[in-house]
């Protein structure tokens, strides 16, 4: 029942928070939400310890006629832990709100994301995938910034259209294989013609979520308009659903189609790297800059997924976890800056290194991690992506390496504009602000994660080596 409890804990917490909201005590709501989030994170950590070298699986319900099959292995466990930790961060990031529905939606979103990572059945997977959409829609639409309603609708329409195509793929797969569990559906084997249809229908849903280049336009809007906690979860975990699903469902359901699609996926990844970095370079709104940097980082992940080797998959996994921490930290910092100054415009900021050293230190740390400094978590994933990409696709990976340079450029330029030099508007940060306790706690969690993954990437990928070998062997024959 461990896996079901990982989903049930945040869900129960969500309902509890709603009930406590009737008391109209903001503190009670906050602490209840934090307790629920911490308990969910502990559950997630238990899953990570529970899988050992193999995996966990369970099913609840009437035998033989259910869709509630769950499983965890080395591929899903790091993402489950990431989700648990970021749920805590998201609750801390919205500490100053006193709205019970907001906290309830954060916890509900956590439950839905955990369900996607743990699902081992096509129907349960789709249900969880769509369930992610509803809380996120309300988080953006109700608690977002000025243009929130348009951004929420755009987010919903893009991802819903994608997931309906994915549903068509799932239905086709189920109709062809006559089974709904991952195990049976993947074992049945599809004809090559059906494979490529199924793969691209599924991929339509996955690639919108990543997002890859032509399907990405919902992302900057959604990130910029979302409240800080929403951005943390959106960038931190929701973007991971795409690559994860590509590995978990796309690759295994249609291995031959995946093999044929690898170059296309690699090109999409490299376009994401270069385009995201170039767009990030052009932004003056810090939140928008972080949003575009997400597209670049997810491009590296896509490149590593496309390589498809065990090491490539490990690199993709490390890249996903790393981006989860780094993007969450950047959004958190930008959010707390916006709370104090009311602006995210780099042209109006400056000199924060002198005026608010605590914040500037954390920001420089996050920017360096985002730029891929060795020793921090950004480095191993992108390094592996480029190396494996080069082995598989040759000079295409060189473009990604150029993207990594651009990554250093836009991150360092943002640091220079925001932290160094003279304050552009001296009145903006009149007195030296203090990072509040909840902010420090959230930053500490994320910074610890960034350093830990940077120094010891095996922490993320170690448990999954068996799963990665078997994933890689589904499409490639031989060693």
């Amino acid at each position: 029942m461990l896996l079901s409890a990982t989903i049930a804990t945040p869900l129960a917490g969500s309902l509890l928070v709603l009930a406590i909201g009737r008391l109209r005590s903001a503190d009670a709501v906050r602490w209840a939400a934090l307790t629920a989030a911490v308990l969910s994170a502990l559950q997630a950590v238990r899953v990570a310890f529970g899988i050992g070298t193999g995996g966990l699986s369970e099913a609840v319900g009437v035998h033989g006629a259910r869709f509630w099959h769950l499983a965890a292995d080395g591929l899903s466990a790091p993402l489950v832990v990431l989700t648990g930790l970021l749920a805590v961060v998201a609750v801390l990031a919205s500490w100053r709100l006193d709205s019970a529905p907001h906290f309830a939606l954060l916890l509900g979103l956590t439950a839905a994301v955990q369900a996607v990572f743990l699902a081992a059945d096509l129907i349960a997977f789709y249900v969880a995938w769509e369930a992610v959409l509803i809380p996120m829609y309300f988080l953006i639409g109700v608690w977002g910034h000025e243009d929130r309603r348009r951004a929420a609708m755009k987010f919903f329409v893009y991802t819903f259209s994608g997931s309906v195509l994915m549903l068509a793929g799932i239905l086709l797969l189920m109709a062809e294989t006559r089974s709904a569990t991952f195990e049976a559906a993947f074992a049945a084997g599809l004809s090559p013609a059906a494979q490529s249809l199924v793969f691209w229908l599924l991929a339509a849903g996955f690639l919108v979520k990543v997002p890859v280049f032509p399907l990405h336009t919902w992302l900057p809007d959604a990130h910029v308009e979302a409240p800080t906690a929403g951005s943390v979860l959106l960038a931190g975990v929701l973007l991971k659903l795409g690559p994860y699903a590509l590995l978990r469902v796309g690759l295994q359901a249609a291995p031959e189609a995946f093999e044929a699609a690898r170059p296309a996926l690699a090109v999409l990844g490299v376009i994401g790297v270069v385009y995201g970095a170039a767009m990030a370079f052009a932004q003056s709104d810090l939140k928008r800059l972080v949003a575009y940097s997400s597209i670049a980082h997810m491009g590296f992940v896509m490149l590593a997924v496309a390589a498809g080797t065990p090491l490539g998959i490990a690199g993709a996994l490390i890249g996903m976890v790393s981006h989860g921490f780094v993007a969450a930290l950047l959004f958190l910092l930008v959010g707390s800056l916006y709370d104090r100054t009311g602006t995210r415009d780099t042209a109006r900021l400056g000199g924060l290194g002198a005026r608010w050293p605590a914040w500037a230190t954390a920001f420089i740390f996050a920017a360096l991690a985002s730029a891929g400094l060795p020793g921090l978590s950004g480095f191993p994933g992108e390094f592996v992506a480029i190396v494996e990409g080069f082995a598989a696709f040759g000079w295409l990976a060189a473009a990604a390496a150029a993207g990594a340079f651009l990554g250093a450029a836009y991150n360092l330029r943002a640091v220079r504009r925001v932290c160094h030099g003279e304050a552009a508007e001296p009145g903006l940060v009149a007195e030296i602000p203090v990072l509040r306790g909840h902010e420090v706690a959230a930053i500490a969690i994320l910074a610890a994660g960034i350093v830990a993954v940077g120094l010891w990437p095996g922490l993320v990928s170690g448990a999954g080596s068996a799963a990665m070998e078997s994933l890689a062997s589904t499409w490639a024959v031989g060693p």
Binding site: R66, W68, I134, L172
Partner: protein, 478 residues
């Protein structure tokens, strides 16, 4: 007589008694009549019909023109909830409305169980007559106009239906039951049978509100009192879809199903396209729900056109639509209760989320279910027919239905957006503590809406753990 059959007759008896009691109450007490006994009797009918699904019925007899189990239970439950809403809505003569709803519910149950063309004819017309009266039952002129339009078109359909029955009975030399007629048509497929089939399919499509026979539906559902709409837009559609599958796919026309299937698929595509695109343009909440009904007639026809799984896919989709749509119409009545000045527009729902959280969350649940989002029953309702379509190599039909679902969020989402996302008018800054003191909707109406919303979520979650099988066997009945 098996126990299941006895329970079925008990349910129908309770339903008839509910109608008579309502008339008696109306006679004794006039306008102030209480409809509570009628609602209670319909609830009893719902329970009895539902209980029949759990009784092992050894060889369910074809001769009993009744549907029991999930479909019957839902029809009566929707009747009970519509009667409660009608009683609270301060509309004209609630007792008369209750009597009409009971008559219509009885007709639906017989129609869905019909295995004889004459029973089909009589039941379909009983449903239609009570529906005309309910549409006309509102106090204003627009409703009279809509009812007249509905009635005139309905008369043409009734004539076509009588003609079809006459052709069948005449050609077969006096047989009326599906089984006998099927034996005749299975040998030589005559021109008479083709004519009858064409007429029957057309009449079924008219009564479902499918394109091109849909023009009455949005008018009727918009202008009828919301309590009446919550019943006539839902239960008859469910009953008609089940009846049509039995008639066309398994009844006298089984051997010629190919042609009928093609006609159904074409009308399905047209209904999905027209219903969803027209739905996008609506400002009125109930008229939008009317076009949503047209689109759902299309989805029902997709389920009916795919010859797999008996009546279960159609019944599942019909039940999922009926529950969510009845809830959505009932919320319209509830919103009238707490916002007396509401003009019926979607924009007029703005800011409801802060004033009436329970009602607003229910609206969101109904809208998500009508879209087909998981964790609501609407998801399972669409999943099974679409999966069957892929299995039967009719994936293109499924893709069109899926595209329709995406478009439909354009208008369902607008409702959610108005209720939760759009700010209330500038002057009234919403604040949690000093919310505007709007009157509350009547408690029993809120209870009906909440029960339907809970039903949508429970039926939407349960299959994850028990599969669709139990729902299917509940619905299959006999």
């Amino acid at each position: 007589m098996t126990a299941a059959v006895a329970l079925g007759w008990l349910a129908l008896g309770a339903c008839g008694l509910a109608g008579i009691l309502a008339l008696v109450a109306d006679m004794i007490a006039g306008e102030r009549a209480s409809v509570a006994p009628s609602a209670l009797l319909l609830a009893v009918a719902s329970l009895a019909s539902g209980a029949a699904a759990f009784v092992p019925s050894a060889g369910a007899p074809d001769s009993v023109p009744l549907v029991v189990g999930g479909v019957g239970s839902i029809v009566f439950a929707l009747g009970a909830s519509a009667v409660v809403v009608a009683g609270q809505a301060r509309g004209p003569a609630p007792a008369q409305a209750a009597a009409l709803i009971a008559l219509c519910a009885g007709g639906c149950v017989v129609l869905a169980g019909a295995r004889d063309v004459v029973v089909f004819l009589v039941a379909a017309e009983a449903v239609a007559l009570s529906s005309y009266a309910m549409v006309a039952h509102s106090a204003d002129d627009r409703s009279d106009e809509a009812a007249l339009k509905y009635f005139v078109q309905g008369s043409v359909a009734a004539g076509a239906l009588v003609l079809a029955v006459a052709v069948l009975v005449g050609a077969s030399g006096g047989f009326t039951s599906y089984a006998d007629l099927a034996q005749l048509t299975s040998g030589a497929w005559s021109g008479a049978a083709s004519l009858a089939m064409m007429l029957m399919v057309g009449v079924s499509a008219f009564k479902l509100g499918a394109v091109p026979f849909h023009s009455w539906a949005p008018d009727a559902y918009e202008t009828a009192p919301p309590a009446a709409s919550s019943f006539i837009a839902t239960a008859p559609k469910l009953a008609m879809a089940v009846a049509a599958v039995q008639l066309v796919r398994e009844g006298p026309f089984a051997s010629g199903f190919g042609t009928a299937g093609f006609a159904m698929a074409s009308m399905a595509v047209a209904s999905i396209a027209v219903g969803n695109l027209a739905g996008l343009r609506q400002r009125s909440y109930t008229r939008m729900l009317g076009y949503s009904g047209v689109a759902h007639a299309g989805y029902l026809l997709v389920a009916a056109a795919v010859p797999l799984g008996g009546i279960v896919p159609v019944a599942l989709l019909g039940v999922s639509y009926a529950v969510a749509s009845a809830g959505a119409f009932a919320t319209a009545a509830a919103v009238r209760g707490c916002r007396p000045g509401w003009d019926g527009s979607i924009e007029g729902l703005t800011g409801l989320g802060r004033e009436k959280p329970l009602l607003s969350v229910s609206i969101a649940i109904f809208m998500f279910s009508l879209t087909g989002i998981p964790l609501t029953v609407g998801f399972w309702g669409k999943l099974i027919p679409l999966l069957n379509a892929f299995r039967a190599d009719a994936g293109w039909l499924a893709l069109i239905a899926l595209a329709g679902s995406v478009v439909s969020f354009g208008y369902y989402g607008r409702v959610i957006r108005a209720v939760f996302l759009d700010p209330a008018d500038g002057a009234r800054t919403p604040s949690r503590d000093d919310g505007p003191h709007a009157p509350d909707a009547p408690a029993s109406m809120l209870a009906v809406v909440s029960v339907l919303a809970v039903l949508v979520v429970v039926l939407g979650t349960l299959p994850l753990f028990v599969g669709v099988g139990p729902l299917a066997s509940l619905l299959a009945g006999f």
